[in-house]
Amino acid sequence: MIKYLVWSLLCFIAVGSTAQVTVSGHVYDNRTQEPLAFATIALGNQILNADVEGLWSLTANPGEYAIRITHIGYDSLVDSVVVEFSSLHLDVGLHESLSVLGEVVVAADGEEDSEYLPMIKAELQKISEIQIVYSSPNASALLGEFPGVRSIKTGSNAGQPAVRGLYGARIGFVVDGIPLQFQQWGDDHGLGVDSWQLERVSLVKGGSALTYGPRASAGAITVSPNPMLDSSGVAANVFSRFSSVNDQFEYGGALNWRFNKFQLDVVAGVRQNDNVKVPAESFVYLTRDLPITNNELKNTDGKSISGQFRLRWVNNKGGGRITYRGYYDRYGLFPGIIGIPDARELREESEPTLEDLPSMDVRSHSVIYRGFRELSPGKELVLIGALQQVDRKELGEPHGHGNAPVPDTDLALSILTQTASSSVFWRKRAGNYKLNTGFQIELSEEQTDGYEHLVPSSNYWQAGAFAAVNEYKIGKYELSAGWRLDASQVNVDGFTEPVYNDFQEIVGSNTRSIEVDQTWVIWGANVLVSRKFDAHRDLQFQMAKTSRFPTAYELSANGVHHGTFRHEKGSSSNKPENGYQLDAQWRYFGASSSFSAAGFAGAYQNFIYLTPAAEFSDLPEAGQLYQFDAARVFRYGGEINYTQSILNRHVDLTQDLEFVYAYRLDDGLALPFTPPVRSRTSFVYHMTERTNPNRLDFRASATYTAAQNQVARNEETTSDYMLWDMALIGRITERITENDVKKKKYGQDYYIEVAFSVNNLFDRKYIDHLSRYNLLDLPEAGRNFSVSLRGYFN
């Protein structure tokens, strides 16, 4: 890799010579003929990235060169070429990779696309395609469209991704190598980033996410930057969309400006929506019909603003980047989720505004530095440092309970989280293996406020060290293994509330949360064996032991959580959770078809989750108490994917199937919010040739979600439903001609993409089993027409 890094640095050295000739090329998927955007090309000492159309060009002196063309998820091409005294054009079709191990792609800025620890990893490369087909109110909903990922929704504006049915404190949302904070109030709040800020996204399933620490014990969704531009210049992206189901307008854009060894990236986006329309005029709560006025869920409007600024640089010994991300989100909460649903509050009396109560207000900021340095050939050091601040507020009409006075603020709950993180990685590449070691530390403080109590203030530190050997070859097999050790100390402040008499005088106190001071040491490990049978088939098998620390919320919460409509209570006796997981994946790639089957099974000790207690809450307006309890749990499931190209590759058919089962070992009871079986059949008709830069594609998909009868105690079952989605996507690409290439203007191109899509085509009324609002029997969004425009200019 160091060799390629050196190439990447040398490519910026001017090699002006009158004898130089142009070498250009086109990199594409060998099966689909789709261009492979940003593929990495190393020719001799030069390294660069292709553009979005898979095109690249450079100049070189005549001679013989080693060439290496790589792209994430594809087998690399390694060969030699002879450059003579005339221009040379190379069309290269890459095969999808059969091995996800050790496929380390080095972009021009030295960015690693995969970590050194063994992973079963799926690239969500097509996030831009999903983004243009599915209108989504947040990043989690967008990620939930991918196989193996679902979105746990808290109403229409908030959600978080679930990987293979696990979510919350078990799933890391890792940006630039740092897990972002989004768990302060348990499982029901958004990620704190917008879909605009998702650049390159990968999904790491199961125990493979060991490298990201205990906060990613069941998987990770990782976000990393797009590669640097291959030379000085400016590239820009713009995107806008209107969605009819909630009158949502989105505007976003990105600007990349490279000047010599530096690059400045700016991303900004705004999203604003009105109330969500649903195909229902009423809903039933405890046998009572309650109105859904004008087919709209009242007070579900929202607005988000996101911004991102990044400075990157490369030099002879490495490179680095520093990134600031800011995110603001304010959205209304459906009034029915606070207290008992009230018919009068549900009537729409005026135009919704962002000032309406109840509402959520989220402001997050993060600064992440990532530096990369070559210590000596084959050895490198990576340093990551991050500061995060997340400020979440729940606002509601002031009210007192019992004899307590009515507060003079609308701040019902707030939690301010400030976190400092740092990681150091030392990596070595040897002949037939790679070695990776690292140390990570994190300090975090949470301060809570508001006239209600849910969780007390707390702080923690975590520190961990790991070591892994990767791609160690034993005969026909390839072995990877990693091990890590983590320690943490959690301190939770107690919380005591005053007790009032009839005259609103304080006559005593009531302890809602006790102080907690716990220190734990945990460990995790995984071993992955990979076997590549031939050019078309491979098999991977992984065993992992994972572990995570209980969160402050799981230890000390004690209050009514409006997001879940119930009284949630932590337990200071909770201990670290341990999981023993097996993963297997078999894949086949043919010339016009591919098939993959992945399965997993895992047994857990101290699996911490909210379970209904056999007692009622002692709080007003709260029903049954839900307590964070630990249980022995078994989970298994899998995903199957089949893709076939027919009619001379004009038509792609894809079939995805995913399923998860999860239950307690002691009594066989299912776990709550287990995703139902989902099957998606997709059809894409390419009306133009795949190689034509001007394209017109028609997409249709039918997603069947099965009934979920595998429910936890007191959890409602949900019925099956079928959703149809369609989209028509046209793209016009303009590229500078060969003459312009000679004028060194190559690469100055643009495309404009227009898409019309409709989601939930038949306006199906359905209840999402993974929505917290299914407790109220509230239907999901109805038919949605959207039109979007995307442009790329280089």
Partner: protein, 254 residues
């Protein structure tokens, strides 16, 4: 091939251990809720100043554990009907958790309905068994009729229906429409404006003259200076038996 065999054995093993054991997931049942001897399902009517006897019968297949009774006024807008019921007036709340035993149990208690209660109350009954299985909740709207205290009905102020508050400024004249009534006759009624500390700033007597019903048509009061953003507007009435009632709204100064 060995790996294939291992995988096959693994998934067979998974399938075997996936069999669910017997466990109690059956919900307890609230078999009957009676108010004053009559079975109620969603609505009931009682009179202020009387006793209300509540009887609840419950069953479970294995072991009952807790009963929760939550009776609260509809004063904060909670409503269980599509159009919402009459807002409650008066203080009367019951919040009890009662421990239960056996597969069948009953609960009975008598509550005194306050003489000043009027409007809609909500009764929520819920039961848990020893495993945490929860019954279907029973929700009853209780309409409390009151012939004891005066009834103050304000239909409009300055021609507009009154919501939570009235926008007003110093010197504004507030003109009331509505009636005050009481079967035993009205002894006294007046309109008053108070500051946030409860001090009366201005007061207008209404000439009720012992009548059973008084039409407020034309009654008015002038808004005094605002020391803060808000003032309280009260209409107070007392009947010939000494029973009182009060209607209130907030005055907001922009």
């Amino acid at each position: 091939m060995k790996i294939n065999k291992i995988l096959l054995a693994l998934f067979i093993g998974v399938s075997l251990v996936a069999c669910k054991e017997d466990t109690d997931e059956e919900n307890p049942v609230i078999s009957a809720v009676r108010i004053n001897g009559a079975t109620v399902t969603s609505n009931a009517s009682i009179e202020a100043g009387t006793d209300m006897t509540l009887q609840i019968n419950m069953t479970d297949n294995e072991e009952l554990n807790q009963l929760k009774i939550d009776l609260h006024p509809n004063e904060d807008g909670h409503s269980h009907e599509e159009e919402g019921g009459e807002e409650a007036d008066g203080e009367w709340e019951v919040l009890s958790v009662i421990n239960l035993e056996g597969t069948s149990d009953s609960y009975s208690n008598t509550y005194s309905v306050p003489t000043n209660a009027r409007g809609e109350w909500h009764l929520l009954v819920d039961v848990l068994d020893k495993e945490g299985n929860e019954s279907s909740q029973v929700f009853v709207d209780i309409d409390v009729e009151n012939d004891i205290i005066p009834l103050i009905e304000v239909t409009s102020v300055n021609g507009a229906e009154v919501d939570d508050e009235i926008d007003a400024a110093e010197g504004d004249v507030l003109v009331f429409q509505g009636t005050i009534s009481d079967a035993s006759g009205l002894a006294d009624a007046h309109i008053e404006i108070l500051d946030e500390d409860g001090n009366i700033l201005v007061e207008e007597e209404l000439e009720v003259g012992g009548a059973a019903s008084f039409d407020m048509n034309g009654a008015s009061i002038t808004v005094p200076a605002f020391a803060t953003d808000h003032l309280e507007l009260h209409i107070h009435a007392e009947d010939n038996d000494g029973h009182e009632d009060e209607w209130s709204v907030e005055l907001h100064n922009d």
